[in-house]
Every structure is written in structure tokens, then in C-alpha cells.
């Protein structure tokens, strides 16, 4: 096709407006189906929780029991996976709780089971109406949440006496809750292991979460307010062994959460996971089996559930949904052009010289598996190590292609070594380093080595550091879940990126680095040779 005889400027405008018109029309026609509320594009925080239990069998029957999460109005269990490693697994509903039991007859040696699930949680906050009074017959009449037990001694005279003291003059539930909450909070915190009953907690004036919770429940029940213990986890990233207990109090038709240990009054933050209700032990197991357990929690951002519902209206989502292309791959691939824009801005506007043209975007895409710090450390390490090999082979005076092939082999070798190291030291993120673009890393290592030789060590290291800065900005942009969802929903935005590139491609201003480079001439009378 021959361009009509137009000036470059006109062509640039024509092309830009055409692309914008196409993108705008396409988005505009699909918009009514998607709806105008884009709140669904804000990603959600979800937790991946693994409950691991292990034991040493001596040939007799072994049984392990723990509670499995259930969905309710503040937590949604999305995906569950049981890894029982040969043990029989039996989930049952007991008293409203889900109980998982793993059984085996005659196993020997150390065994482990793991239960992994993903849960979406939200923070809650309740307003308790001042109309609810104490001992209100409408407050529900489940005897179980009113009756005294061996460890929740709600009829003990000492507890009853305290409950009467704390009973407010106005007789409202809310005032009583306040008084009890303050009183229980005032207990000293002691991280006791094992069970503390309500009375002991009161007498000692100190308790851990379970002692406080039992005292709280006992004081409630002493005034005829149904209350129960809740056991679960406070979700924090990493591996830990601490579980937590708090309380729920019946107010009208709702069970309202109270955590006198962590000071949440009629509220819970998003990172609480309830596993069971009632005065239960989280783990029950056969005796003398060297039982160990741990919770491993990871948090991630995922698309909001509405995105799933709207998938069919959301451009590429619909296409790859049908083709079965993994979402994780596609949402990064679609971001590479945006990474390229970031690189262009760094190169042409700031005047940042980096290794490779689009290397930073590709590296940033690979970093999604390893995380930024781990991935960059491994990347820089490999580049520098391979450049040392390059300097060694310099002495052999090799031809170019075989030379590069040796570097490629070295990169692969280092990756395998890192993967093996990551495996034995249980660093799964480092193992993912093998997904980095091998050929690009070899060429980068070669350039790094040549730059060291030809332009000096300083220049090479500065360029490597700059490359890492640009990778960081690419990574920030490309891993933004909101942007990923936006580009997958509206792939037409790629045309907008092209328009941005066109204008960056015609931008003739001085680069930031050139203001520095030509500073001697800026704003001064010109010319030795004028």
C-alpha cells in the first residue's frame, strides 16, 4: 500500500486518531455488557493455608483429627486439597463443625498429612443495638451456649459475683459487653501453653487467649447471654504453630465476634480464620506418636469473584477460557507491551542505557515466579558469574557463536545448580529461576563481559544496576493485578499503547541524561567556533 502524499505530522495524527477510534468503538460496544461499575477490577487478598501434621508410627493404629474450614458470611473457602499420603481421610460434620480424621492401621516411621485450602476473608464490624437487654428471651435459647462447663464455670459464685458487679444499671447488652470486655482486657497477657479455665484466669489475673475467652464466655453465660468459644488462626504469612481463640456472643439473631486478647470489640479484621465453634482442641491424635503440626500461610492478590462471573463479557478472558490457556501465563504476556512502554520511557525520555532492548520486560515477566528480590539476586549473580566465564574464554580466542554457546551452557549449568540448591534448602521460589529466558541471559552476560573489557568495569556495573532499576519499574507495572485485569478485559488498550509509542517515537526533546551531558552549553552564550 502506498501512503498518500501527506506530511509525517499528518500521518502521525491520522494513525493515532484511527487507532484510538478503533479502540474506543470496540470498548464502547462491549461496555454495556460489562456494566459501568469497575469496582470488580480491584483485586482481592486471599490466603493460602496449609495445615501440616506429622507423626512417627510404631505399627499400631493411628488417628489424627483436626477441624476443616467452612464458609460463612465472613470467610469463603475457595479450594481445598487433602494430601493424606496413604492415610484414610474422613471428613464429617459434628456439632456444626467440620472434622477431618486421618486414620491408618499399622504404619511405621515418620508420616505426614497436609490439608491445603485457599480462603477469602473479609473484615466485619457489628453495631449492637442498645435495644438488646440482658437475659432477653429473644436472644436465642441454645442451652449449650448458656450452660456451665468444667472450664467455663459460669455458675461459680466468684464469677457470678463479678458478673453482677459488671452488670450495667441500664441493663443493656451493649453496656454489659463493654464492661466485661474492659475487665477481661485488663488481665495480664501470659502466653500459657495448654488450657486455662475461666476461674483460674480470674484468680490469677493473667491468661492467654483461651483463658481470657473462657472468662469472657463464663461472664456472659452468668448473665444469661449465650456465648461460645471460637478457635482458628490469625493469618500471617509464613510458617507458625500458634492458633488462636476468641468469642462469639449472641445478639439478636447474630453471633457477634469479640476478641478480648487482640482488642477487637464486635469486630474482626480480615485476617481471622475460624475453624471451629465450641470448647474444642484443634488437634486430637493418638498418644505417643511424636505428633507435630504447623500452619503455613501465604497471602496473594487474586481477581475479585465478579471477574469470574463476567469472564464471558471480558474480551481475552472469554477467549482463553475457551482455549484453556493458563490465566497466569496470559495475564503476564499481555503486560509485556506495557513493560515495553516503561522501557521506552526510561530509554528515550530519561536516557537510561540498559542491557538489551526489551530484556527488562522479559526479566520482569519471569520474576513473577520468583519474587523480585530472589529473582533479581539470582539474575545478577548469574550474569556476573557467566561474565567471569566469558573473561576466561577470552584467553582461548574463540569464534563468536561457539563462544556464545559456551555461555549458554554455563547459564543452564548455573540454573540447574541453583535449582538443586533451592530444592535441598527448600526455597521453592528460587527453584522457579529455571523459568528465566536462558538465551537472553547468555547474551546479556556476554555484553556485560564485553562492556567490562571495552568500557571499563564501572560502566558495566552501572549499566547492570540501571537495568535492575528498569526491571523493578517494569515489574511494578506488569504485576499490577488491576492493570492485568484491565488489559485482559480490554485488549483494545494495546492499541492505545501503540499510540503512546507513536508519540514517544516522534518526541524530540532532550533526554534527561542529555541535560547533564550538555550542561556546559545549556543557558550560556554559545560558541567557541561560531
Amino acid at each position: 500500500m502506498k501512503w498518500p502524499a501527506l506530511g509525517v505530522r499528518t500521518r502521525v495524527w491520522l494513525m493515532s486518531l484511527t487507532l484510538l477510534a478503533i479502540a474506543g468503538t470496540s470498548i464502547g460496544t462491549r461496555l454495556p455488557e460489562i456494566g459501568s461499575d469497575f469496582g470488580f477490577m480491584i483485586p482481592e487478598l486471599v490466603y493460602n493455608v496449609t495445615v501440616s501434621q506429622s507423626f512417627a508410627g510404631h505399627g499400631e493404629a493411628v488417628s489424627l483429627q483436626t477441624f476443616l474450614p467452612q464458609s460463612d458470611d465472613r470467610q469463603t473457602v475457595v479450594r481445598e486439597e487433602n494430601r493424606s499420603n496413604g492415610l484414610d481421610f474422613d471428613p464429617q460434620l459434628e456439632n456444626g463443625n467440620r472434622v477431618g480424621t486421618w486414620k491408618s492401621t499399622g504404619v511405621k516411621g515418620r508420616h505426614s498429612v497436609a490439608y491445603e485450602f485457599r480462603v477469602r476473608t473479609r473484615a466485619v464490624e457489628y453495631d449492637i443495638s442498645p435495644e438488646f437487654g440482658l437475659g432477653d428471651p429473644n436472644a436465642g435459647g441454645e442451652t449449650e451456649s448458656l450452660a456451665p462447663t468444667d472450664v467455663i464455670q459460669s455458675t461459680d459464685p466468684e464469677i457470678v459475683k463479678l458478673a453482677d458487679e459488671l452488670r450495667p444499671a441500664d441493663g443493656t447488652l451493649i453496656s454489659y459487653l463493654r464492661n466485661v470486655f474492659d475487665r477481661v482486657q485488663a488481665l495480664k497477657f501470659k502466653p500459657f501453653k495448654g488450657t486455662t479455665d475461666a476461674l483460674t484466669a480470674l484468680r490469677l489475673g493473667e491468661a492467654s487467649c483461651n483463658g481470657r475467652s473462657r472468662l469472657f464466655v463464663a461472664l456472659m453465660r452468668a448473665q444469661g447471654v449465650p456465648a461460645r468459644l471460637v478457635g482458628g488462626l490469625v493469618l500471617k504469612g509464613g510458617k507458625r504453630k500458634t492458633s488462636h481463640q476468641w468469642v462469639e456472643v449472641r445478639a439478636g439473631s447474630h453471633w457477634v465476634p469479640m476478641d478480648p486478647t487482640n482488642h477487637h470489640f464486635a469486630a474482626l479484621p480480615h485476617n481471622y480464620l475460624a475453624l471451629y465453634r465450641g470448647d474444642e482442641a484443634l488437634f486430637k491424635h493418638s498418644q505417643d506418636i511424636g505428633f507435630k503440626y504447623s500452619f503455613h500461610v501465604r497471602s496473594h492478590l487474586v481477581p475479585a469473584p465478579e471477574v469470574d462471573k463476567k469472564k464471558h463479557d471480558l474480551g481475552l478472558w472469554a477467549v482463553f477460557n475457551r482455549l484453556g490457556i493458563p490465566l497466569d501465563l496470559l495475564r503476564v504476556v499481555v503486560m509485556v507491551p506495557l513493560g515495553a512502554v516503561v522501557i521506552v520511557i526510561f530509554r528515550n525520555v530519561l536516557g537510561f542505557s540498559v542491557f538489551g532492548t526489551f530484556l527488562p520486560a522479559l526479566i520482569a515477566a519471569s520474576l513473577r515466579h520468583t519474587g523480585f528480590v530472589m529473582g533479581m539476586a539470582a539474575f545478577a549473580g548469574v550474569i556476573v558469574a557467566v561474565s567471569l566465564v566469558r573473561r576466561l574464554t577470552q584467553k582461548l580466542q574463540l569464534l563468536h557463536s561457539p563462544q556464545l554457546a559456551i555461555l549458554l551452557t554455563t547459564v543452564i549449568g548455573l540454573m540447574l545448580a541453583l535449582a538443586a540448591y533451592a530444592d535441598t534448602h527448600d526455597i521453592p521460589r528460587l527453584a522457579k529461576f529455571t523459568l528465566f529466558p536462558v538465551a537472553i541471559m547468555s547474551i546479556t552476560a556476554e555484553r556485560f563481559a564485553l562492556m567490562e573489557i571495552e568500557e571499563g568495569r564501572k560502566k558495566a556495573w552501572v549499566t547492570l544496576a540501571r537495568t535492575m532499576v528498569v526491571v523493578y519499574f517494569c515489574y511494578l507495572t506488569m504485576t499490577s493485578l488491576s492493570l492485568q485485569i484491565l488489559f485482559l478485559a480490554f485488549p483494545e488498550l494495546l492499541l492505545v499503547l501503540v499510540v503512546i509509542e507513536i508519540w514517544l517515537g516522534r518526541w524530540t526533546g532532550l533526554r534527561l541524561s542529555e541535560w547533564f551531558r550538555f550542561r556546559a552549553m545549556l543557558g550560556r552564550p554559545q560558541g567557541a567556533t561560531r
Binding site: V8, N348, G351, Q397, L399, H400, S401, E455, G505, R506, W507, T508, G509, L510, R511, E514, W515, R517, F518, A520, M521, L522, G523, R524, Q526, G527, A528, T529, R530
Partner: protein
């Protein structure tokens, strides 16, 4: 309204930098607008350039031999027989990389001007590297053997370490800025400013050296010899300008950096033409190319 906006933007992005030519503007308004891509080959390939230039009557350095494949590389010993001093360079090399100069030959031992000695094997390796494209980021290249040029007295005075060259920026066949690049000990005999060569600003009008710069700093004497630099006048400057005008008239490339050397016996020769001439010449001259071209009425 529109006008005001544009002024604000222009002020923001250009400001006092209005005189200076930056990389982006050089690429968009000069290289892309004046040097059609299809003609880049002439600048990128020294053999082709020499052909085009000689045909137009522009003096260039003669080609003694070429090596274009491995068969020819294998015959290097026979083919170099009878050549005592010479320069080997890649046809598609840039910035002086891959150039090997032999100043002295004793049997199969070749000595560079810097005193490095090479055997026939090392020479063959170098030529093979050239042919393989190591210096040209390409998969194949041609090694050119030319006579070793001896600088004319004025240039020999400037530096005994290597060949000084004259870079003249030609825009629309008009010479805009000029400088001489003088090799130093620090630059390892290379006429490359980034590697520590001296840059001498030459006034286009009369060939007078106005200013000298070494690694970004103004100097007035040669760092190795102590010879004064500023105030001297390049001999036969008008001849050089005439050569440049003739060359750029013959070429379909209208924004060029022309590199010339003045040989003792052959006089001024065009050594290389560059379609992407560097911008450091502005710092050497302390003159912004953009303002300069505007004054000349070229751009």
C-alpha cells in the same frame, strides 16, 4: 490558547536546550528524515562507500586485498606475501573496532604501532573474527586490507601514537561542525573520544583550532607531548571542505559525519562516512548543533 500550551510544553522540554541537538531529535529530524534506510548500506559497508565515492572523484584509501570467506582466510599467508605494512579493518565495523594496523613486518611476525607482536596464527584469527562478523554484529563481513596511512606533518605533530582524523558534520551538503580527534596514550592510539582521545574544535570558516577537550575537560596542551593545540590552523582546510561537499553531493544521505585523514603522500582521504554521527562534537566545540544548523539556514 493552543499556542500558549505549546509554548509552556516547549519551554519545559527545551528551555535553554534549544541550541543543543539531542539524541531523539537527531534520530527523528535528521537521520530518519534525511538518511533513507535503503541507502544505509553505503555508510555501513566501507567497500561500497569507497566504490561510490571514488566514482564521484572523492579520494579514498586504496583497497589492497579483501577476505570474504574462510577459504580466503586460510590462504592468508600467501595472500599477504609482499605486503609489509598495512591496515586490516572490517568492512562493516564502527568506531574503529576491529582495526589492526601493522607498522612493521619481520617474516611472519607483525608489529603494531603500539609495539604488540602477532604471529601469522593471531593475524589469521583476527581476520577470521572479522569475516565471522565479530566486530560488525552481523553474521558475515569482509576484511579489507589497506595501505597503512602515514599522517601528514601537521597531524603527525599532534600525535605520534596513531592516526588523527577529522570529523565534519554535513547537513544537506553544508558543513556544520568540525573537530579533530587525536589519539593519546590514554586512548591506546585510538581516535575515540570516549576512550580518552583529544577532541579539537575546528572552526568551519578557516580551519582554526578553537578549543581542545580531553575526557570532557578543557585543555590547551597535548596531555602526552605538551604541544600547544589551540590557535593553530589546519592546512589545506578548504580542500577538505571541498572534498566533503563533493562527497555529500554524490551520496543520497544528507546528514552525515564524514571522517577524513590526511596522508603524507596521498593528501586528504575520506576514511568513513557515518549515518549516525555522535553528538559529543557539540561539547568539543561548545556549540549546539541545532542552533548552528538554524543559523546556517539548513534546519
Amino acid at each position: 490558547m493552543m499556542r500558549g500550551w505549546r509554548d509552556v510544553l516547549a519551554g519545559l522540554f527545551q528551555g535553554p536546550g534549544d541550541e543543543v541537538l539531542g539524541m531523539n531529535r537527531r534520530n527523528v529530524e535528521f537521520i530518519l528524515a534525511r538518511n533513507p534506510r535503503k541507502h544505509f548500506a553505503i555508510a555501513d559497508d566501507k567497500l561500497l562507500a569507497k566504490e561510490v565515492l571514488s566514482a564521484a572523484g572523492v579520494p579514498v584509501s586504496p583497497t589492497l586485498l579483501t577476505f570474504s570467506d574462510f577459504f580466503e582466510v586460510g590462504q592468508i599467508a600467501e595472500r599477504l606475501a609482499g605486503h609489509g605494512t598495512f591496515a586490516i579493518k572490517p568492512a562493516r565495523g564502527h568506531g574503529g573496532i576491529g582495526i589492526l594496523i601493522v607498522a612493521e613486518r619481520t617474516g611472519d611476525v607483525f608489529t603494531t604501532p603500539g609495539g604488540r607482536q602477532l604471529g601469522m596464527d593471531e593475524l589469521r584469527k583476527h581476520v577470521a573474527d572479522i569475516v565471522f562478523g565479530v566486530f560488525s554484529l552481523d553474521h558475515a563481513d569482509v576484511a579489507i586490507v589497506e595501505p597503512r596511512l602515514i599522517p601528514a606533518p601537521f597531524f603527525a605533530d599532534l600525535s605520534s601514537l596513531g592516526l588523527s582524523d577529522v570529523r565534519i558534520i554535513m547537513c544537506d551538503e553544508v558543513p556544520a561542525l568540525a573537530m579533530i580527534r587525536v589519539p593519546t596514550k590514554a586512548s591506546d592510539g585510538k581516535a575515540n573520544l570516549h576512550q580518552g582521545a583529544l577532541g579539537l574544535a575546528v572552526r568551519i570558516d578557516d580551519g582554526r583550532i578553537m578549543r581542545a577537550q580531553l575526557k570532557g575537560q578543557e585543555v590547551d596542551r597535548h596531555p602526552d607531548t605538551g604541544a600547544p593545540l589551540v590557535g593553530r590552523t589546519v592546512p589545506a582546510w578548504d580542500d577538505m571542505l571541498a572534498i566533503c561537499r563533493k562527497a555529500s553531493a554524490a551520496l543520497p544521505l544528507k546528514y552525515l559525519g564524514m571522517d577524513l585523514v590526511v596522508d603524507e603522500t596521498r593528501g586528504p582521504l575520506v576514511l568513513e562516512i557515518n549515518v549516525r554521527p555522535g553528538l559529543e562534537i557539540q561539547n568539543v566545540n561548545r556549540v549546539g548543533l541545532r542552533g548552528r544548523l538554524r543559523t546556517l539556514g539548513v534546519a
